[in-house]
């Protein structure tokens, strides 16, 4: 898709020089013998020397950031208008990874759609499975065995840890910290090995099914998870020391890309983006689903809320901090489940060919990136009428249009990285 200047980013923020002003400036630069004062303010220093503050405004330039850029975390293009180092307009262009998930949802049977849910936010496939299964179960009204709920929560929280590890690891990478990325992937590798043991897949699990989970945990798996939790608690401090309190990291992220509380509400931000702006909101506690209500009553985990420790509340550092601290809270939830899990069945009585009762329901759950909602409509048949996917990355990315104008080009990477998008989910 060719981009002509007329389609390019609209002006935001800074007033632009008019064409006449630009022409005048250009003319002045080329005319020989023009006095220097033509270019900017002039003053005489105490030494008698003349100092001229040159106006170094350049002409506007349009830069395609992406689609193949590592900091877009997928295939996304941001068309930026820059004035020197200053971004004056930004327009995200999506759709490079559009795979018609919603259309597929109304073409295949209810159970067959489950593997497609893995592929929206491929870093948190367990959570996606859970969201879709819960939406269908809300229409079916089937009870879920308790052991299945336990395994669901364990897997969802382990996947949240894995997803946040990628989030902060690649965020460091985006802004120049190479090492934390490898540390993060070391633990994520272990997490993926755990998932491989329980369901055979490392990335697209389809483990959490409508009615429960696919199969029971193999012998020794829960002990492995306990060992993972112990080790992770030790290692977590490394990430915190290496990245969060690193002076370079703080300088790159504090006071950058500030999202106020009002703006977060207006743009419908959810998850760590919302908590990063100081809003005390987590669906797991406030509109509990699955076993989270019980876990909350036991006060087994907390919700980290940003306080603007390193700068203004709602900056990039706050969002990264929320993700980092949230990982430890997930470990606590996993521990609670390991203490309370008991033997039992793991899959309810669900027929192979599922007929879902007539109805429509919206179910939203707390994914690592925010609220993943499914709005499903059934006419009582084998195939859905509508499967609407409300991806958190999609809504969270919209705020970039507002944040980038006025930022420096280098900070643009920090801002886009801090939204922690997965393009599979923005495009679905």
């Amino acid at each position: 898709m060719a981009v002509t200047p007329s389609q390019a980013a609209p002006h935001h923020g800074d007033p632009q020089p008019t064409d006449a002003q630009r022409a005048a400036r250009k003319g002045a630069q080329h005319a020989p013998g023009t006095p220097l004062s033509q270019f900017g303010a002039e003053r005489v220093l105490p030494s008698g020397e003349r100092e001229v503050a040159l106006d170094v405004r350049t002409s506007d330039m349009e830069i395609n950031f992406g689609p193949q850029h590592p900091a877009t975390h997928g295939v996304m293009r941001v068309l930026m208008r820059t004035d020197g180092e200053l971004v004056t307009g930004a327009q995200p262009h999506l759709g490079y990874l559009h795979r018609c998930a919603e259309k597929i949802g109304e073409s295949v049977e209810w159970l067959q759609y489950l593997p497609y849910t893995d592929r929206y936010d491929y870093l948190a496939a367990m959570n996606n499975n859970l969201a879709y299964s819960m939406a269908v179960e809300a229409l079916l009204g089937v009870p879920i065995p308790r052991r299945a709920e336990m395994l669901r929560v364990i897997c969802a929280e382990l996947n949240r840890i894995g997803s946040h590890l990628v989030a902060i690891g690649t965020y460091g990478l985006d802004i120049g910290a190479f090492t934390p990325f490898f540390y993060a992937f070391r633990e994520r590798e272990w997490m993926m090995a755990l998932f491989e043991k329980i369901c055979g897949a490392r990335l697209t699990y389809s483990y959490i099914r409508i009615g429960g989970v696919f199969n029971d945990a193999p012998v020794g798996w829960l002990e492995d998870v306990a060992r993972f939790c112990d080790t992770f608690e030790e290692k977590w401090q490394e990430y915190f020391d290496l990245l969060m309190v690193n002076q370079i990291f703080i300088k790159r992220t504090a006071n950058i890309g500030v999202i106020s509380k009002e703006m977060a509400f207006d743009f419908g931000l959810t998850g760590p983006m919302l908590r990063g702006s100081g809003v005390d909101w987590d669906l797991r506690r406030d509109l509990p689903y699955s076993l989270y209500g019980e876990i909350c009553r036991d006060k087994a985990f907390g919700i980290p809320i940003a306080r603007g420790e390193m700068g203004q509340l709602g900056d990039c550092w706050d969002r990264a901090w929320v993700r980092t601290v949230e990982m430890m809270e997930s470990v606590k939830i996993v521990r609670w489940c390991l203490q309370h899990i008991e033997p039992g069945p793991v899959l309810g009585d669900i027929p192979k060919t599922l007929r879902v009762p007539v109805g429509e329901v919206y179910v939203g759950i707390e994914n690592p990136r925010g609220e993943l909602g499914h709005y499903v409509v059934s006419d009582g048949g084998k195939i859905a009428i509508r499967v609407r996917v409300r991806g958190p990355s999609f809504t969270n990315l919209a705020v970039v249009e507002e944040l980038l104008p006025g930022a420096l080009v280098g900070d643009a990477i920090a801002i886009i990285g801090s939204t922690d998008i997965v393009v599979g989910e923005t495009d679905r």
Binding site: P10, E102, D266, G268, P357, V358, Y362, E371, D427
Partner: protein
């Protein structure tokens, strides 16, 4: 607040365009074909007044829906003369949700944009417009968002015919 409380409050503050409610119900014992309806309760709103309805939902102190979570549409069937536009609201302060449904004739699929009320709906409306061909009057940036600019047709409509080729690439 539960759904009944929200609905009473909406009645009390004369929310513009409020038409009624659609509650889940069990099957009708007299009618064997009727299977009832499962799922969420909805409030039905007149499409032309959706934006002003949302303004009340956002600004009323006891409703205080700060966030628009989702806006999408449904094409129920090929023969059905209507679209549904479905909006999901969330209140952080009051910890409640509301599902809103507008029934919109396919022959005149247009309604005022809700972007002035919630900026969150900007991208949702763009997606809805390209996928269903619903016009959102007064949208600040009515371009395609996921589809290419030259895409023909509205893919999420039930009567959509899949293209045979795209820019010389066979799709069959």
């Amino acid at each position: 607040m539960d759904f009944q409380g929200i609905h009473d409050r909406l009645r009390a503050c004369n929310a513009p365009g409020l038409l009624g409610i659609d509650l889940p119900r069990g099957p009708d014992p007299k009618d064997k074909k009727d299977k009832g309806r499962a799922g969420d309760p909805f409030v039905l709103v007149e499409p032309s007044k959706l934006a002003s309805f949302l303004t009340v939902c956002r600004d009323d102190e006891r409703l205080s829906f700060e966030m628009l979570i989702d806006l999408s549409a449904v094409d129920p069937a090929k023969e059905d003369p209507n679209f549904w536009v479905v909006v999901s609201l969330l209140s952080v302060q009051r910890k409640h949700r509301l599902q809103i449904k507008c029934v919109l004739p396919k022959s005149q699929a247009s309604l005022p944009s809700t972007v002035p009320v919630y900026r969150a709906s900007q991208w949702h409306e763009r997606e809805c417009a390209e996928m269903f061909g619903i016009r959102f009057e007064g949208h600040p940036d009515p371009r395609n968002i996921l589809l290419p600019d030259d895409w023909v047709g509205h893919p999420m409509r039930k009567d959509y015919e899949f293209p045979k080729e795209y820019h010389g690439i066979s799709c069959e």
